[in-house]
């Protein structure tokens, strides 16, 4: 369980990092917190010729305001920084809440937001949350900078839209308006474990406390975070009467079938329970 040989670079700034990525292309891998990459190297499941360590780049750990109360967050911000709300969370508590549930504190002290997104582990929290929030990902290379929606960036099982010469530098997280509530449910065997099932619900309310829109995303799938369109519709219609369980479960099943994510009965049940509990949390907050 030791890695194959590799060359190690610790560039001094983003430009130096992107220069290395341009030079080595798919022979290089970006090392941020290393909490997923180092085990992959040790298991010899990944064998890059070159590691580009960006963990010391201060400019990737900054955060500053953007339009409409949103926040631009450096990609090398750690989960701990988010957990401790050293980022001026624009989501009314969702980001710190999610960060707190990621693995253990020693992992959160090193693991990074951008690393998690770029790694695109289907079991990870940030791809799900950033898709649900409609966040944007900034990618920089010697060729220039581009912005891509998180939902387009995370393409599948450990697969993203990042080109080999690109570095994920920041994430734009839009504000969650006062008119919105959220619910998040992670079902895990114990504290620190990966999710068995995971869902996030964001509900937009009108002035008279009726539901205007529901955004519902499911994580811990086999492939990538999934938007549950049919279930969103059922939730909009049925949430006032506090969710008809069977209808909801059926909608989740159909949504999962659409993206080929149906599994054994227990797995589908876990997804369904996570969705229901996320929705319930998002609504009870308002109803109460």
């Amino acid at each position: 369980m030791k890695p194959r040989p590799f060359a190690y670079f610790a560039p001094e700034d983003v430009e130096a990092a992107t220069t290395l990525l341009a030079e080595y292309g798919d022979d290089a891998m970006v090392l941020a917190g290393g909490q997923s990459l180092m085990p992959l190297l040790n298991f010899r499941l990944a064998s890059p010729a070159v590691l580009v360590d960006i963990s010391r780049l201060d400019e990737l750990r900054t955060t500053h305001p953007i339009a409409d109360g949103g926040r631009r967050m450096g990609s090398a911000l750690t989960h701990s920084a988010i957990e401790d709300d050293r980022i001026d969370d624009p989501t009314g508590g969702l980001l710190p809440r999610v960060a707190t549930g990621i693995a253990h504190r020693s992992i959160r002290n090193r693991g990074t937001l951008g690393g998690s997104l770029a790694h695109a582990d289907p079991l990870a929290e940030w791809p799900l949350i950033m898709c649900a929030l409609g966040a944007d990902v900034q990618l920089r290379s010697l060729r220039g900078e581009r912005t891509v929606a998180a939902a387009d960036f995370v393409q599948g099982f450990f697969t993203t839209d990042r080109a080999d010469d690109e570095l994920c530098v920041s994430i734009d997280v839009p504000a969650l308006a006062e008119t919105h509530t959220y619910g998040f449910c992670k079902l895990a065997r114990q504290v620190g474990d990966f999710a068995e099932a995971m869902a996030v619900a964001i509900i937009g309310w009108s002035g008279d406390d009726t539901i205007e829109d529901v955004t519902l995303w499911l994580g811990a799938t086999r492939n990538r975070p999934v938007v549950l369109s049919r279930t969103e519709q059922v939730a909009v219609e049925g949430v006032a009467s506090l969710l008809q369980r069977d209808l909801l479960a059926e909608a989740v099943r159909l949504d999962l079938a659409d993206v080929d994510e149906l599994g054994d009965a227990h797995r589908v049940q876990m997804h369904s329970v996570a969705v229901e509990r996320a929705l319930r949390e998002a609504t009870t907050e308002r109803v109460a």
Binding site: M1, K2, P3, R4, P5, P39, F43, R44, L187, R189, Q190, V191, G192, D193, F194, E196, D264, A265, H266, Q269, M270, V273
Partner: protein, 786 residues
């Protein structure tokens, strides 16, 4: 919450005292020396090439070109340097397996070592290992122990008639009559799935030739350095006088480090040839695929009972999947044999019949793991008690008590010839009921809304555990060697300080403290000032090792006896120096008090070593006494316990939360209550692992599915409750100081207690471990059986 016994011993530092461990400083300060911390000049690292198929014929092994000689070792290179491992039970029916040090013609499990690579560091050794091409012609893997008698599926060992190590049967009393008399007969199948041992520190060894001492030295993360020296010396063809084995700090063993490992044999053989130190440190993947596995028991239990739930007779079909090889020295049949013996549990069973089958499969060998066979047997019998209680609609705790051997019948010889020496089993259940607030929990259950998603359950499990069994028991089991005694040497150094050299080995049990407490009661020396040396065949007297919950009883007994002998000599010297009779000398801390004056240990030692001119010739110089302790009755001291669990089951997900947990234990006289509590916390954690988390699955091709912590789940700190602990103390009549073993016990009952609690919550029989959310949810939604 912990009920504390009032202190009633003379000293709060001796036996019974809450003494902080002498080991804590180095362990908590990160200053221990584990085998991977051993650094020797010119040391090289070893990596193994392991089989990636479970069963097959090795056709060829192709090495990359240009490697320096001595880099890669295969079975051919070890010929004449190391013999295969054979662990045969002393029974004509036992089928012998021969485990090659490196696979010769055939591989028999995924992970079996095929070649050994030696390089300057481990990463380079792994680089070379990757380039070695092993061509294996795959054979159909033998994976299902239920088919062990079927000869048409192929053979794990080609010279066997089928895939069974042994079938053992027993028939006691009149089971047929019990069946006829019974008003209720219940048959259930239970399964405790295979898992791993997962000590914090994996296995490993460092071996080198010490030319000055003309000996081979091996550091090994082992539980029994002397015993492996004996067997390794035989396998390697080296005299024991020229072989030293050192167990440095060992980061947990739990039985996994209580076997002979082929890797150690290979490393030692190569180190003798190459003349440079070699190191092999098992990585976690190797641990999951290549270390001895645990459990893998199946039971079919039939209970014949009255309508009141009194059990008239038991029938047990036991099947253990022992994997590819019989591990030394335990043999492949130890698990099934012990399980058969322990099925009657703490109950008054007079009619009992069993069949105990041990199957060979193309999986990693099965070895001892904390509790050894008892967690499976406890699971089967304690689930059975609750099934009987459900059938006759009585409170399980009451049915348990009603069937137990009454206190007045002890000592009691069980139907399987175990001598339960002392205690009060029913009282243990009653105290557990009190500790878990039985009535209150039952009230809370009644108050649950009928449609509540979360269901509350209460479950109990009791056991009586043979500990510190000696010569008679091991001889009965037919082991290759007999673990009948322990040895201690107590030495007062010339400055009056005390050293205990013991054959036992401590790897987390706190023996450096508890043995010092035993010495304190005899010699008066502060336990914090006693040096306890162990785990080194170059220093310690020969010892059998730490396992079978034997160390405190055996080594404590030996320490007590050695200290008494030393004390007598101290008294005779003191009497001479104080000009009185030895019988007039009293122990006063580190002084010896005569009628008119006192003398310190330092002054006695000074006379014994440095001023022998002050002593008459009849008194021998020096202050060192050795004692071997062998209990007079060697069938074991029976510790016992009842665990009680309250769980909440989420019926939507199948997830189980442990809400309350209580442990009532009796390990005879307690040496150090804090160490006993620590054993309970640790054993409970491992028992919860067996119950809810840990499983090592093989797929239909014989490939391990849980070979990293990503898939293999162990309970973390948040999954392990802090139990209410109730100590009771019934001294064993068979051991010095009345001690009983307690190392393994706390891991025995949790699977049964938790299964009973989940069964109680759902009114559905739980029959399998681990009870994962999937297993529990499926049981709710696809009920199997009545």
């Amino acid at each position: 919450m912990c009920q504390r016994r009032p202190e009633r011993h003379l000293s709060t530092r001796g036996v019974g005292g809450r003494v902080r461990r002498n080991e804590d400083g180095r362990h908590l300060g990160g200053q221990s020396t584990f085998v991977a911390d051993v650094r020797l000049p010119h040391m090289r690292d070893v990596a193994f090439v392991r089989s990636m198929v479970p069963h097959g014929q090795i056709m060829s092994i192709r090495l990359p070109d240009g490697l320096p000689p001595g880099t890669v070792w295969t079975a051919a290179d070890l010929e004449g340097l190391a013999q295969p491992i054979i662990a045969a039970a002393a029974s004509a029916d036992f089928r012998v397996s021969e485990q090659p040090i490196l696979a010769t013609d055939k591989v028999r499990f995924f992970g079996e070592p095929i070649a050994m690579v030696i390089a300057d560091d481990r990463a380079t050794a792994e680089d070379i290992a990757e380039l070695i091409e092993v061509d294996i012609e795959a054979l159909p893997p033998i994976l299902d122990p239920l088919n062990a008698a079927d000869t048409g599926l192929g053979l794990v060992h080609d010279h066997w008639p089928d895939n069974r190590y042994m079938v053992r049967v027993g028939d006691f009393g009149d089971v047929d009559r019990a069946a006829r008399d019974a008003e209720v007969t219940i048959t259930r199948d239970y399964k405790m799935n295979r898992h791993a041992g997962v000590p914090l520190e994996t296995r490993g060894c460092v071996a080198y030739m010490d030319q000055r001492a003309d000996q081979l030295v091996m550091y090994s993360s082992t539980q029994f350095p002397h015993v492996i020296r004996s067997v390794l010396a035989g396998l390697l063809g080296i005299e024991e006088r020229r072989f030293r084995v050192i167990a440095p700090d060992v980061g947990g063993g739990f039985g996994i480090k209580n076997n002979i490992n082929s890797e150690e044999v290979a490393v030692c053989a190569a180190a003798r040839q190459l003349g440079c130190p070699l190191r092999w440190i098992e990585d976690r993947w190797e641990h999951f695929v290549g270390s001895a596995h645990a459990r893998d028991h199946r039971y079919r239990i039939t209970a014949h009972a009255t309508s009141e739930g009194e059990i008239l007779g038991l029938e047990a079909e036991i099947l253990v999947d022992a994997g590819a090889y019989s591990v030394w020295p335990w043999t492949a049949v130890m698990e099934a044999g012990m399980a058969a013996g322990m099925i009657p549990g703490p109950y008054r069973i007079r009619n009992y019949r069993y069949t105990a089958t041990t199957a060979a499969t193309n999986k990693a060998p099965l070895g001892p793991y904390r509790g050894v066979a008892r967690p499976g047997a406890c699971f089967a019998i304690e689930r059975t008690i609750d099934e009987v209680a459900r059938a006759v609609q009585r409170e399980p705790a009451e049915v348990r008590i009603a069937n137990m051997v009454p206190a007045e019948d002890l000592p009691y010889e069980s139907i399987t010839s175990m001598v339960y020496d002392s205690g009060d089993y029913a009282e243990s259940v009653r105290r557990a009921q009190k500790a878990i607030h039985h009535d209150e929990v039952r009230q809370r259950q009644l108050a649950q809304p009928i449609d509540s998603i979360r269901r509350l359950g209460l479950g109990y499990a009791s056991y009586t555990e043979q500990t510190a069994h000696g010569a008679e028991e091991w001889s009965k089991r037919g082991l290759p060697i007999i673990f009948g005694y322990e040895t201690a040497r107590a030495t007062i150094e010339p400055d009056g300080s005390l050293v205990l050299d013991v054959g036992i080995q401590s790897h987390g049990q706190g023996l450096e403290t508890s043995l010092a407490q035993v010495a304190h009661d005899v010699l008066g020396v502060d336990p914090a000032s006693v040096t306890v040396r162990h785990g080194d065949s170059g220093i310690s007297p020969f010892g059998m090792g730490t396992f079978a919950s034997r160390s405190m009883v055996m080594a404590g007994g030996a320490t007590h006896l050695a200290c008494e002998r030393l004390s007598a000599k101290l008294s005779s010297i003191a009497a001479h120096l104080l000009d009185c009779d030895p019988s007039e000398i009293a122990v006063d801390g580190t002084r010896r008090q005569g009628p008119s004056a006192a003398i310190s240990l330092r002054d006695i030692a000074d006379a014994a070593y440095l001023h022998i001119d002050r002593l008459p010739v009849e008194i021998e110089a020096g202050l060192s006494e050795t004692a071997h302790y062998r209990p007079e009755i060697s069938t074991g001291a029976f510790a016992y316990s009842t665990h009680a669990a309250v769980v909440e089951v989420d019926t939507e997900t199948g997830m189980v939360d442990i809400i309350e947990y209580a442990v009532v234990e009796d390990c005879g006289r307690i040496v150090n209550p804090m160490i006993v509590d620590g054993q309970i916390h640790g054993g409970l954690a491992q028992g919860i692992g067996t119950a809810l988390y840990e499983q090592l699955r093989y797929d239909e091709n014989g490939i391990p599915q849980d070979s990293s912590f990503l898939d293999y789940r162990v309970p973390g700190s948040t999954a392990v409750p802090s139990p209410a602990i109730v100590h009771t103390e019934t001294p064993s009549p068979h051991t010095v100081l009345g001690l009983k073993g307690m190392g393994e016990g706390p891991a025995i009952a949790p699977p049964a207690a938790l299964a009973n609690a989940i069964t109680d919550a759902l009114d559905i029989s739980m029959t399998t471990t681990p009870m994962t959310p999937e297993v529990v949810w499926n049981a709710i939604h696809q009920p199997v059986g009545p």
